[in-house]
C-alpha cells in the first residue's frame, strides 16, 4: 500500500469537538431519520453549534434500501435535521460504513476544504423479518460466491473460527470469555443494547447459529445512530475546552470473498490499516490505553488483538485468559460492551466506537472509565475483512 506520506506534514490536525449517540437496541417506535436526528442533536447540543455552521454532512449507512426500502439516506437525514442547503452524502462499506464516513470527514477537514464537518452513522435493522435481515447482512460478503449458496454472515465467521481453533488450539471457553467480558462492560453502559451480565456457561448453552458459533458469540441486530463533529484543531477551542485529536486514521482493502484470502486466520486489511495509522500517529501499540475493536463475532476480537499488533498470532487467548482486556486490565477492550453487548446497527458502529473513545479520553465514561486514558484506538471491519479502518485518538499533547 502506498500513500503520499510526504504530504502528511502539510495536513491540518483534526479534532473531534462534539459527540452524541442514541441508545442501541430495538427501537420499534422510531424511524432511521428520528434516530439520526437524536444522535445529531445530542452532539450539536454539547457545544451549542447551530446547523448553519455545519459545512458538510457525511452519514455512514450500510443498507437503508434493503433494511427499510429507503435509499438517498443522507438527504433524508439532512432534511430531518433541517440542514439545508448543506451538502450531505452517504458512505457505504458494509459494517465499516461508519468509520469510512469518519475518515472521509477527517480528510475533508485535514485538507483545508472544510472546517466544520458532521459525521453520522445510522442503521435501522429491525423493520424487516429476521431471515431478510440475515440476507441483507450477507450482502457484506461476496454475494455471488458466498451468500448465493446459502452461506450466512455468521457462517463465514464460523469458517474463520473453526480454522483458527484447528490451527491455534483456541478453545470454545476462551471464545465465550470474550462475550462474557463484553456483556460485563455493557452492563456499565446505559446506552448498550444488552446490559445484562452472562456467564461462560450461558454462552456454551446458547443455541448454535453456525457451528462453532453460538447465539451469544454474535452481535445483535440493532437500531441506533451516532454522530461526531469535526473541526481543525487550531479552531477547536472555539467550541470546546477538551478537543480530542485524530492522530491517525487509515483504511485498507482486501479480497471481498473469504475464499481468496491468503491466510484465513488473519484479517490483512486490519494489519495494513493499523500499520499506516500507527505510522501517521507516530505511536506504537504499547502507547494505547484502550481499544474499541470489531467483535461482530467473538473471533473478531481475537483476530483484532493480533492483527492490530497487541500480541503475536495465536496469543490473544492468553490475554483473554489473564483478563487483561477487562476494565482495570493492562489493555481494556470494548469498554462500552463492543458490538456484542453494545449492539451493532451496522452503519452506526464505526462512529459509535469513536464516540466511546472520546468519552473515555475526556474522562466522561462513568462506571466504565479507564483511568488516565490518553490514547485510544478504534478498529472497524467491513464484511469478513474486505475493508478495515483503524483510527487513533489522543488527548491534546
Amino acid at each position: 500500500m502506498t500513500r503520499a506520506s510526504e504530504n502528511l506534514g502539510k495536513k491540518r490536525d483534526v479534532a473531534i469537538v462534539a459527540v452524541g449517540s442514541t441508545k442501541f437496541g430495538e427501537h420499534w417506535d422510531r424511524s432511521l431519520a428520528e434516530l439520526a436526528t437524536e444522535a445529531g442533536f445530542s452532539a450539536a447540543s454539547e457545544i451549542g453549534i447551530a446547523g448553519k455552521e455545519l459545512e458538510l454532512f457525511i452519514v455512514g449507512n450500510m443498507s437503508g434500501g434493503m433494511f427499510m426500502g429507503q435509499e438517498h439516506v443522507a438527504a433524508l437525514v439532512a432534511d430531518f435535521l433541517g440542514l439545508q442547503p448543506t451538502p450531505a452524502l452517504r458512505v457505504e462499506a458494509a459494517c465499516a460504513s461508519g468509520s469510512v464516513a469518519l475518515r472521509q470527514g477527517y480528510i475533508a477537514v485535514a485538507s483545508g476544504i472544510y472546517d466544520i464537518v458532521a459525521v453520522g452513522g445510522v442503521e435501522k435493522m429491525t423493520d424487516i423479518p429476521h431471515g431478510e435481515a440475515i440476507l441483507t447482512l450477507a450482502g457484506a460478503m461476496d454475494f455471488e460466491w458466498e451468500a448465493y449458496i446459502g452461506a450466512t454472515f455468521p457462517g463465514i465467521y464460523a469458517l474463520i473460527t473453526n480454522r483458527y481453533m484447528h490451527e491455534y488450539g483456541l478453545t470454545r471457553e476462551q471464545l465465550a470469555k470474550v462475550a462474557v467480558k463484553n456483556h460485563y462492560h455493557g452492563s456499565l453502559n446505559p446506552l448498550a443494547h444488552f446490559q445484562n451480565r452472562i456467564t461462560v456457561e450461558d454462552v456454551l448453552k446458547s443455541p448454535l447459529v453456525a457451528d462453532p458459533i453460538r447465539l451469544y458469540d454474535c452481535s445483535p441486530i440493532s437500531d441506533g445512530a451516532a454522530c461526531v463533529i469535526l473541526a481543525p484543531l487550531e479552531k477547536a477551542r472555539k467550541y470546546t475546552d477538551n478537543p480530542i485529536v485524530i492522530s491517525g486514521c487509515a483504511q485498507a482493502s482486501s479480497t471481498l470473498g473469504l475464499y481468496d484470502r491468503k491466510d484465513l486466520c488473519t484479517i490483512d486489511a486490519t494489519v495494513n490499516a493499523a500499520k499506516v495509522a500507527f505510522e501517521e500517529a507516530r505511536l506504537k501499540p504499547t502507547d494505547v490505553d484502550l481499544l474499541e475493536v470489531h467483535d461482530a463475532f467473538t473471533i473478531g476480537e481475537v483476530l483484532a488483538l493480533e492483527d492490530l499488533g497487541f500480541c503475536k498470532k495465536g496469543e490473544a487467548a492468553k490475554l483473554i485468559d489473564e483478563e487483561q482486556t477487562y476494565l482495570g486490565g493492562k489493555l481494556p477492550v470494548n469498554m462500552d460492551g463492543g458490538l456484542k453487548a453494545g449492539g451493532h446497527p451496522v452503519g452506526a458502529t464505526g462512529v459509535k466506537q469513536i464516540v466511546e473513545i472520546v468519552r473515555q479520553l475526556r474522562g466522561e465514561a462513568g462506571k466504565r472509565q479507564v483511568k488516565d486514558a490518553r490514547v485510544g484506538l478504534a478498529h472497524n471491519v467491513g464484511g469478513s475483512g474486505a475493508t478495515a479502518v483503524v483510527t487513533i485518538l489522543e488527548r491534546e499533547r
Binding site: G131, W145, Y148, A210, D211
Partner: protein, 134 residues
C-alpha cells in the same frame, strides 16, 4: 434476480470453469477478467478445475437466510481445490456431525435453491465426501 444473473455464471456453476493467468501461472476460481497479480500485463485463459479437493474449514448453518429454510441444518465448507484455489460451497450427503477439516471431497451437480414455487430452479456444484475404497 432475473434469469441473466444466474445464466451468465453457468459455466462456472455447472462445469467449475475458472481461469489461469498465463503470465504468473496462478489459477483462480471463480473467473476474473483481470489477473489481480499482473493486472494489465496478465493474460487470462479459461481453466477447468477437477472438482477434487479437501475441506479446509466448515460450519453448519442452523439459522438459514431467506430461501434456504428447507435445507437447514446444512454444511457450508471452504474447500481447497487440489489445484490450489479455495471455494465456498455446501457439502451434501454428509451428516453435520461427521464433517472434519481435511476430509477429501469432490463436486456433484445439485439443485442450489428455487427462487419461488413458480420461479427459476438454480442448479450448480456442491461437494460430497469422496467414498473410501475399502
Amino acid at each position: 434476480m432475473g434469469v441473466p444473473f444466474h445464466w451468465r455464471r453457468y459455466k462456472e456453476r455447472y462445469r467449475l470453469l475458472g481461469m489461469k493467468c498465463d503470465r504468473c501461472g496462478q489459477l483462480f476460481f471463480p473467473m476474473r477478467t483481470v489477473c489481480p497479480n499482473c493486472r494489465r500485463s496478465g493474460k487470462v485463459t479459461p481453466y477447468r478445475f477437477s472438482g477434487k479437493g479437501k475441506i479446509f474449514s466448515y460450519t453448519v448453518i442452523r439459522s438459514p437466510p431467506h430461501g434456504f429454510e428447507a435445507y437447514a441444518p446444512y454444511i457450508v465448507a471452504l474447500v481447497e481445490l487440489e489445484e490450489g484455489p479455495k471455494v465456498i460451497s455446501q457439502v451434501v450427503d454428509c451428516k453435520p456431525e461427521d464433517a472434519r477439516i481435511g476430509m477429501p471431497v469432490e463436486t456433484c451437480f445439485r439443485r442450489i435453491r428455487s427462487e419461488s414455487p413458480e420461479g427459476i430452479v438454480i442448479y450448480g456444484f456442491k461437494f460430497k465426501l469422496v467414498e473410501s475404497k475399502q
